[in-house]
Amino acid sequence: DVKVTQSSRYLVKRTGEKVFLECVQDMDHENMFWYRQDPGLGLRLIYFSYDVKMKEKGDIPEGYSVSREKKERFSLILESASTNQTSMYLCASHASYEQYFGPGTRLTVT
């Protein structure tokens, strides 16, 4: 089974902190994605990566950056967390026409 893991299920950070969300997949997938999920808005794509060191902006990249130094790991970085970044963050990897999702990280910024 494909497994996508995320470093934390719940995270509480203060405004202005630098936040790292880690995602690891174990199936050698090329493509990886970061989404945020907010009530009534569905999943919105923040960034995606189709290869090591490659990244593409999604629909809402402002306030975020990403890093992909190894194929299995895709990190989402909040350079200076703000309260409007309180959300559920979902990582996914993709192969064979479907995406596999991690369990999500619920981030609260106070």
Partner: protein
Amino acid sequence: AQKVTQAQTEISVVEKEDVTLDCVYETRDTTYYLFWYKQPPSGELVFLIRRNSFDEQNEISGRYSWNFQKSTSSFNFTITASQVVDSAVYFCALSEALDKFYFGSGTKLNVKP
């Protein structure tokens, strides 16, 4: 512009009722892929089905069925004889080049015993 619209925000049914979740999509590409995902209360999205634009054949999997109609740009999902375990948020998604996936806002299904 919204590429995937799920107009039903929340639906409540009683167990054993049939329920249809609507999905309308928008794309100019001739090749595209449509998906349904289930997100149970635990939070992890579970893949249910994928359809490509060249395959309009409807699909049935147990109590689940999907109706793909290109003429109306719709990809609706029906659960027959619903069960409490079907309670979840269901997302419809579209991908054109399999690089980006566009998700609808989701439909929360409540199945009451």
